[in-house]
């Protein structure tokens, strides 16, 4: 029986290798996606970090000192970079608006020429208007990205307003001291000192939880598009089964002293191997091109084995359910693309609405990605990814059962 399995697997491999373009596509497509999407989405995933700060234009028309002080405060915030000059000239409102409009910059901060005066008026009188800082923003800017930046700016402006209010209140309270008040107050240099963080906010990942750890573009895209590419095996696999059914070669094989199980195992084996090679290659690209870390390498093995089984099961199920090449093509693309989208391959599940998050749990893609992230991001190992492995194996078993129930070797 083993020799017959080997014979069928060798034959299938030979046929696969005859169509090198199709095989290359299986490998090239996820590599292409990984490269393009990792570079393209770098801004989304890593924007706001020290390595990839968000660049903000700042138009300072203020004739007083407060806008300048706020500008210095903002520069101390890691992840935000202030641009006040372009080509040696101070930014004007008109230029800043043009740059935002042409998407050269996501936003601009505008301090009007009476900003410092408006702060003084505000702290001196409860009747006075709030001092205004304007943010010039492209309407298409990612609001999720914008919210923390807005919060940081608001906090820094309010801090400066609060300092001004304290000085004003001290002056008012001790006005009888006359000229001596200046000596009591903190020195101007101390007041205008830039913002210095007083606390280090560390973000920690509790072991075994998924919510706080978010992947970088590479860590999302390499395992994500690997999972995506693995499921594209569905198309050649199902088409191969259909072709044999149509050409009558299955019948001829089964006229030999061979069981249906031997035939199925021999036929599936090369596709399973192709999937494993695919996974290895994708992770190698991640490591070589992006310096991606694998975490505990052994932890990736059970996930990868179960994932490849899942993709093969799905391929066999499509072969069993499809009656024509068009049906197989449509089903293959549906399962490969739509389930990928739903499973968080293209857009991470943490940005999805709750309903979509729930639905994603019913896709093998989400579980495979979660398993890879457990190992790569959360530092979990072989023994910790049993849940994902079990669920993926369950999906594989489900697909195989449907396939074996519906599969016919003849037309």
């Amino acid at each position: 029986m083993l020799r017959q399995i080997a014979a069928i697997a060798l034959k299938e491999l030979k046929i696969l290798l005859k169509d090198l373009e199709a095989l290359a596509l299986l490998f090239a497509m996820p590599v292409f996606f990984i490269l393009v999407m990792s570079f393209a989405l770098e801004g989304v995933f890593e924007a706001g970090t020290a390595n990839h700060p968000i660049e903000m234009l700042l138009v300072n028309l203020d004739k007083g000192p407060i806008a300048k002080q706020i500008s210095k405060d903002i520069e101390t915030v890691k992840g935000i970079k202030i641009i006040e000059e372009i080509e040696g000239a101070a930014l004007t409102r008109h230029r800043a608006e043009a740059l935002v409009k042409e998407k050269s910059s996501p936003m601009a901060i505008l301090f009007e020429n009476d900003f410092s005066e408006s702060v003084k008026r505000f702290v001196a009188s409860s009747e006075a208007d709030l001092p205004r800082v304007s943010l010039i923003i492209d309407p298409a800017t990612n609001r999720q990205l914008l919210a923390p930046v807005q919060a940081a700016i608001r906090a820094l402006v309010e801090r400066r307003v609060a300092i001004s209010r304290q000085i004003h209140q001290i002056k008012e309270r001790f006005s009888t001291l006359g000229e001596e008040i200046e000596a009591v107050l903190p020195r101007q240099a101390a007041l205008s000192a830039p913002y210095a963080p007083a606390v280090d906010l560390a973000i920690l990942a509790p072991k075994g939880t998924a919510s706080t750890v978010r992947p970088s573009a590479t860590e999302q895209n390499v395992p994500g598009y690997t999972v995506f590419g693995v499921f594209f095996i569905v198309l050649p696999l199902a088409a191969g089964f259909m072709r044999e059914r149509h050409d009558g070669t299955f019948q001829r094989i089964l006229a030999a002293p061979i069981s249906k199980w031997t035939l199925l195992v021999g036929k599936l084996l090369p596709y399973y191997m192709v999937n494993l090679v695919q996974i290895g290659l994708m992770f190698a690209v991640g490591a070589v091109v992006f310096g991606m870390h694998f975490g505990t390498f052994y932890g990736l093995i059970p996930i990868s084995l179960a994932l490849a089984a899942c993709a093969n099961g799905l391929g066999l199920m499509v072969a069993a359910l499809g009656r024509t090449e068009a049906q197989i093509g449509a089903m293959g693309v549906f399962f490969a693309v739509v389930l990928s989208a739903l499973g968080g391959i293209m857009v991470p599940t943490f940005v999805m609405p709750d309903v979509m998050k729930t639905l994603s749990r019913f896709t093998p893609h989400a579980w495979a990605l979660s398993g890879y992230h457990d190992v790569m991001l959360r530092g979990l190992g072989f023994a910790d990814v049993w849940e994902e492995t079990a669920v993926l194996s369950g999906f594989a078993a489900f697909f195989f059962l449907i396939a074996l129930w519906r599969f016919r070797f003849t037309e």
Binding site: R3, Q4, A6, A7, I8, L10, K11, K14, I15, K18, D19, D247, G248, T249, Q251, R252, I253, L254, A255, A256, P257, I258, T410
Partner: protein, 313 residues
């Protein structure tokens, strides 16, 4: 007494309420070529599927070389070579690759495999094209390779389902000659075809199937003797005498006329006597007989007589 190479006993196949094969029984002895003939939908392909172990029968048994196909399928299948109606080949692979693959399924490896592949290629005269991919083959070459795969593991019984369909006369003759060689070497053949002259040339016995049952089974010679009719063709000058025309029409003659003559053709169980009577009548009517031809009965006329003349699909 030696067991027959193929024994089919009370074989039935039903799909739901539709009985496709009805209680079929026959035996094929060693070295015999047994023809299975019948119109489309007669149940031939289903019968071949059951004999090859591809379709489980609803009832009845099949023995190949004395081994029960249902009880010991692996042992029985070793003795069986199938040449299906479909090409059932891998077009992306070479002829050699195809043969090596199918040979391995039958447990052939190493030198034994090389020898058998070389023999099979030689038997169908494809040795010089062994390294061509099958997709580049003509239909005739594909048919020959299809046959070669069936011979590869040196089976005692070869089941052939229309092995010459859709090919030119040269390839057909090449295949028929290869089959004659196989019969001469002692192989047992179950031969299913629509080309009745092939059955007549190759088969020692034939069974004619219709509606899932065998309606006649004997040697071709005996079937022709029992059920055959001759064919009379006669060409008369214009105009055809009324009495003569009436006689021809009464015999079911088919008319194929031209400007120069009126041609008639009809079957006759006693062609000699009928032709003699027709010529005498023509003389009495002063009709001009341009030509008269008497064709001997063949398996084709037997087939048409037994299965009727209506188109089945």
């Amino acid at each position: 007494m030696m067991a027959p190479m193929i024994l089919v006993d009370q074989l039935k196949k039903a799909y739901g309420s539709s009985l496709v094969v009805r209680s079929l029984s026959f035996r094929v002895e060693k070295g015999e070529c047994f023809g299975l003939l019948g119109p489309n939908g007669a149940g031939k392909t289903t019968t071949i599927g059951m004999i090859s172990g591809l379709i489980p029968p609803s009832a009845g048994v099949v023995y190949i070389g004395g081994v029960s196909l249902s009880a010991h399928p692996r042992e029985a299948k070793v003795n069986l070579g199938l040449v299906p109606q479909d090409f059932a080949l891998y077009p992306a692979l070479t002829a050699m690759d195809n043969l090596v693959f199918f040979g391995r399924l039958y447990g052939l490896w190493g030198r034994a495999l090389s020898n058998r592949v070389a023999y099979a290629l030689e038997a169908v005269r494809l040795a010089d094209r062994a390294d061509m991919t099958v997709s580049a083959y003509s239909n005739g070459m594909k048919r020959r390779l299809n046959l070669a795969v069936g011979l590869l593991h040196d089976p005692a019984v070869i089941v052939l389902d229309e092995p010459t369909v859709g090919i030119d006369a040269h390839s057909r003759h090449a295949i028929v000659n290869s089959l004659k060689d196989l019969i001469n070497s002692g192989k047992t053949l179950l031969y299913c075809t629509h080309h009745l002259w092939e059955a007549e040339a190759l088969c020692s016995r034939v069974a004619i199937m219709d509606s899932g049952r065998i309606i006649a089974m004997d040697t071709p010679r005996q079937l022709i003797r029992k059920h055959g009719t001759g064919l009379i063709r006669i060409e008369l000058g214009h105009p055809v005498h009324g009495h003569l025309l009436e006689t021809l029409q009464r015999n079911g003659a088919v008319q194929r006329s031209s400007e120069r003559h009126a041609g008639f053709q009809f079957q006759s169980a006693r062609p000699n006597a009928d032709l003699e009577r027709l010529l005498k009548l023509a003389e009495e009517c002063n009709a001009t007989v341009r030509s008269a031809q008497l064709l001997e009965p063949t398996l084709e006329t037997v087939f048409l007589n037994l299965t009727g003349r209506s188109v089945r699909d």
